[in-house]
């Protein structure tokens, strides 16, 4: 969605540099990237009302499309034809989620020294059902504490 946003926003609303700054800040916050960019762009142009309007505009099309699909799907989920389709789709979904694990590991430069963090997180969340919320909290805490030590040295 970002390239699309850049094409629409850079020029009439933002300079190229503004857009880059906004994407960088948007990436520093939790939540949905495209919505974060919308919030910041709207805020820059018209403060809080602008942020509300932009976020609403960015979310509404998917909201409506998904609602329509959900309405349709509730009626047809039991249909044997639909059932067969999804029996094929489900394993493929697992593959689609598995691919970014490897692409991200490559781009994040995961090494043998750091891979244990990924493995430990995966096992804790998958097998021990530990909430990802706690995992994120612990990660931030460790990062801040050890980061201080690192800087002190």
């Amino acid at each position: 969605m970002l390239p699309l946003m850049e094409r629409e926003l850079v020029g009439p609303y933002l300079s190229k540099q503004d857009f880059l700054d906004i994407t960088a800040v948007a990436q520093s916050a939790p939540g949905i990237m495209a919505i974060n960019v919308a919030i910041l762009t709207g805020y820059r142009l018209c403060r809080v009302p602008g942020a509300c309007a932009a976020a609403l505009g960015a979310a509404l099309p998917s909201f409506i499309i998904i609602l329509l699909i959900a309405l349709f799907f509730r009626k047809f989920a039991e249909n044997p034809f639909v059932q067969r389709v999804f029996m094929g789709v489900r394993p493929a979904v697992v593959a689609l989620i598995l691919v970014p694990v490897f692409t991200l590991a490559k781009s994040a430069g995961v090494t043998l020294k750091t891979v244990w963090v990924c493995v430990a997180v995966a096992l804790a969340v998958w097998l021990l059902k530990i909430s990802p919320v706690y995992v994120v909290l612990v990660a931030v805490l460790c990062g801040v504490l050890f980061g201080k030590k690192e800087r002190a040295q």
Partner: protein, 171 residues
Amino acid sequence: MIYWQLFFTFFKIGLFNFGGGYAMISFLQNEVVYKQAWLTTAQFTDIVAISQVTPGPVGINLATYTGYTTGGIWGAGISTLAVCLPSFILLILAGKFLFATREKYSLAWRILRLVVIGLIAAAALTLCNGENFVDFKSVLLCAGAFLAVWKFKRGPITVLLASAALGLLLY
């Protein structure tokens, strides 16, 4: 009250979800499938599939669909709003500060990147159960889809449409 529960659940997800749509799958699984048991694994997988083939941010799609299945149209609205609200508040009140943490606490950010990879792996592993993998054909479908995306650089829509057609043929 289901609406309050939806609001709190999705607000929490919106507040802690670093790492985009794929990482969000792991948060949702833990809250929606495991803790609240609002959806079965198969239902949840179907939602992920649908949000992959529809336009728009995956996070919005997932929140809307889960909200609708659990609480109707109001549930959908509340969940979608709740998932966006934390970043809305944070960005407007503390956008500059958040950005500054990237340099000041760079170690925390580096660890978060590793955590996100682990979370996405956990999401995929959690989906590997008897509901999604009914027989050896499912395993072949998964392996085929993986190769198509990883090796042959096919997009998610192509892969899901092909696997839908194969589902019709095979089952």
